[in-house]
């Protein structure tokens, strides 16, 4: 079970499967390296405000992203870099946005918590916990009313399970029967509190209570998530019904960059780091043992490094956003 051919149980199509795995690897590495670079830029004072990294949680974003098209819509959270990149937001647009440059996805007006790309169905990261859920629901309604074969995905954290808006969304989705996939990323933390001190509920039972099909996944196993989400999204496209997916994962970084994390102990942090979905996939792709795999891995790293280098360089060279233009964009 440590080879990629175990996935998705379809050894006859080994190469396709393997290509999928490599695509997921590339997607995860891109997210990871972008965020690592953002962390450095933040430390160097090149990223203003605050940023929340999804290091350790890349598998979920990558797996979902791989199952979605531009017509599909995603509403994300404050921890949204991964969702954005996986949904197709170019690295350059994301990096420039987080750095507050005019070339950013939102012309530097929103920053990390508001990266959006409406043309690619990315309805925005969101600074308000839980607020993305009803927005995704509304986009699912639009898909249905407009007769598009598209689905909407709402990402939210385990801490967000305390917000009323998430329940209102479950209920409304169940009543209206729209193609909405609600995805809870259970990274064990709600800001500085363990999430079991922030949410007393049980996802599976909640889903059952609202009659939503439910899936609990190991969110650090990208192949498992992808194997499950592919058919799930396909089914959602067909039956246009809502469902709930719960992904267990780990928040490796602090709540935000610069968070001293005094509230975490060493073993817990070590366990979070050890769950690394990239390392897990690398092991399954035999990156350490197989020379071709290692070469391919290194190539991806190099390409992505180059992509990020170029993005950062371009962002640095980009002008400051224009104030009057911004002011003029309050109304259409």
């Amino acid at each position: 079970m440590n080879g990629v051919d175990a996935y998705p149980g379809n050894s006859g199509e080994r190469s396709t499967v393997s290509e999928t795995a490599w695509a997921l690897m590339r997607s995860m590495i891109r997210i990871r390296r972008v965020e690592e670079r953002l962390a450095r830029l933040f430390a160097d004072g090149e990223v203003p405000g605050f940023i929340h990294l999804s290091i350790g949680q890349e598998a979920i974003a990558a797996a979902f992203g791989a199952c979605l098209t531009d017509a599909d819509t995603v509403a994300s959270t404050h921890r949204g870099h991964g969702h954005c990149l996986a949904k197709g937001v170019p690295v350059s647009a994301l990096v420039a946005e987080v750095m507050g440059r005019d070339s950013g996805a939102c012309r530097g007006r929103g920053g990390s918590m508001h990266v959006a790309d409406l043309a690619r169905g990315m309805l925005g990261a969101n600074g308000i916990v839980g607020a993305g859920a009803p927005i995704a629901l509304g986009s699912a309604l639009a898909h249905k009313v407009s007769g598009r074969r598209a689905v909407a995905v709402a990402f939210f954290g385990d801490g967000a399970m305390a917000e009323g808006a998430v329940y209102e969304t479950m209920n409304l989705a169940a009543l209206w029967q729209v193609p909405l996939v609600m995805v809870c990323e259970r990274n064990g933390w709600s800001e500085f509190s363990p999430s079991d001190r922030a949410f007393a509920g049980d996802g599976a039972k909640l889903a059952e209570a609202f009659g939503l099909p439910f899936l609990a996944l190991d969110g650090d196993d990208v192949l498992a998530v992808h194997a499950a989400v592919g058919p799930l999204v396909a089914a959602c496209r067909e039956d246009r019904r809502p469902r709930l997916v719960s992904c267990a994962t780990h928040r490796v970084a602090g709540h935000f960059e610069g968070d001293p994390q005094r509230y975490r102990d060493a073993p817990e942090r070590a366990a979070a780091a050890a769950a690394d979905p990239i390392m897990r996939l690398a092991a399954r792709l035999c990156v350490d043992e197989d020379r071709d795999a290692r070469a391919r891995f290194d190539t991806i790293e190099a390409e992505i490094t180059a992509e990020i280098d170029a993005a950062v360089e371009a962002a640095r060279l980009a002008p400051d956003p224009d104030f009057d233009l911004a002011r003029g964009d309050v109304y259409g």
Binding site: T73, A105, H114, L123, A133, V330
Partner: protein, 324 residues
């Protein structure tokens, strides 16, 4: 010419907009099968079907959030908040999401969403079903706020609101729904941000909007009998509001009263007065006076609500004070 009820004008605007544009959808609590708590959406479910006219559960936050998401994806949702008091439950979606999206996303898309909500007292509906909270929304960059005073404007402003590429809040006074007026056969759009002179006058300007327009006109009648000629300006929109029109009026009359049903303190009248003092200071022959509700919740009992609500009497008194 024809008789038109205010509520029917809204209904007609919705029907016409839905006929003209398949992207227009309606949702809200009991707006579909039941035709709305005030009957405003009656018949629309039958006319346009359950895909476009949807009943929603009692979830103001998710209802508005869904409208934001739908608006970002090509629909033009028109949402009803049953009483304006319940907007308190949807402020995040309105203020943090709908209002900011265009700006925050770099001007690359907007939220063409209409929120209809009845405000105001007079029905003895008590402190949680009578508030006028439009000043909150007018304070939020990204929102537009209109408050029709007549059936023709109820039609015309709602049509413009639905056409608008941005979120527009249409505030309707509950006390107007049942009132009828004589209107032109052909109802037309009314531009957002454009006021109108409802009655011309020389000695003072009364600026108002919504249900208080009728009171202002009554006040002007009474004052005319006393020899004071008042111009009545119906603002129609409070965000943006027609500063130029009011400026011109004040340049002629040199005196201004701003009247609304909302609580006076920190109400819409404050902005209008503050702005007019800035741009028309040299034209003013008297302080700007405001007529608004006293600083207390809307009381329930008949006698209390009667004493609470501003009307023609207080407008008359303010105008008289201006002439002292």
């Amino acid at each position: 010419m024809a008789e038109l009820r205010f509520a029917k004008a809204i209904n007609q605007a919705l029907a016409d907009a839905m006929r003209d544009d398949p992207a227009v959808v309606l949702f809200g609590e009991d707006v579909a099968a039941a035709g709305g708590p005030f009957g405003v959406t009656r018949g629309l479910l039958d006319a346009f079907g359950p895909q476009r006219v949807l009943d929603a559960p009692i979830s103001e936050s998710a209802i508005v959030g869904a409208a934001v998401g739908a608006a970002l994806c090509g629909l033009k949702p028109v949402v009803e908040i049953m009483f304006m008091d319940f907007v308190t439950l949807a402020m995040d979606q309105i203020v943090n999401q709908a209002a900011k999206a265009r700006f925050m996303f770099g001007g690359r898309g907007g939220v063409p969403l209409v929120l209809r909500m009845p405000h105001g007292g007079g029905l003895n509906a008590g402190p949680q079903h009578s508030q006028c909270l439009e000043a909150w929304l007018a304070h939020v960059p990204g929102l537009k706020v209109v408050v029709p005073a007549t059936a023709a404007d109820a039609y015309g402003l709602l049509r413009s609101a639905i056409d608008d590429p941005d979120p527009v809040v249409v505030v309707e006074h509950k006390g107007l729904y049942a009132l009828s007026e004589t209107v032109d056969e052909t109802l037309v759009r009314v531009p957002i941000g454009q006021g109108r002179i409802a009655r011309a006058g020389r000695d003072a300007t009364i600026a108002t909007y919504g249900a208080l327009l009728r009171e202002a006109l009554v006040a002007a009648d009474r004052l005319a009998a006393e020899g004071m000629s008042c111009e009545v300006v119906d603002l129609r929109s409070v965000q943006p509001w027609d500063e130029a029109l009011l400026r011109e009026s004040v340049a002629r009359t040199h005196r201004l009263v701003v009247a609304h049903e909302a609580v006076e303190a920190f109400g819409v009248g404050a902005e209008i007065a503050a702005r007019m003092v800035e741009v028309a200071f040299d034209d003013l022959d008297a302080p700007i006076l405001r007529v608004g509700a006293p600083f207390m919740p809307v009381p329930f009992a008949k006698s209390l609500e009667m004493a609470y609500r501003p009307g023609a009497d207080r407008i008359v008194a303010a105008c008289r004070r201006l002439m002292e």
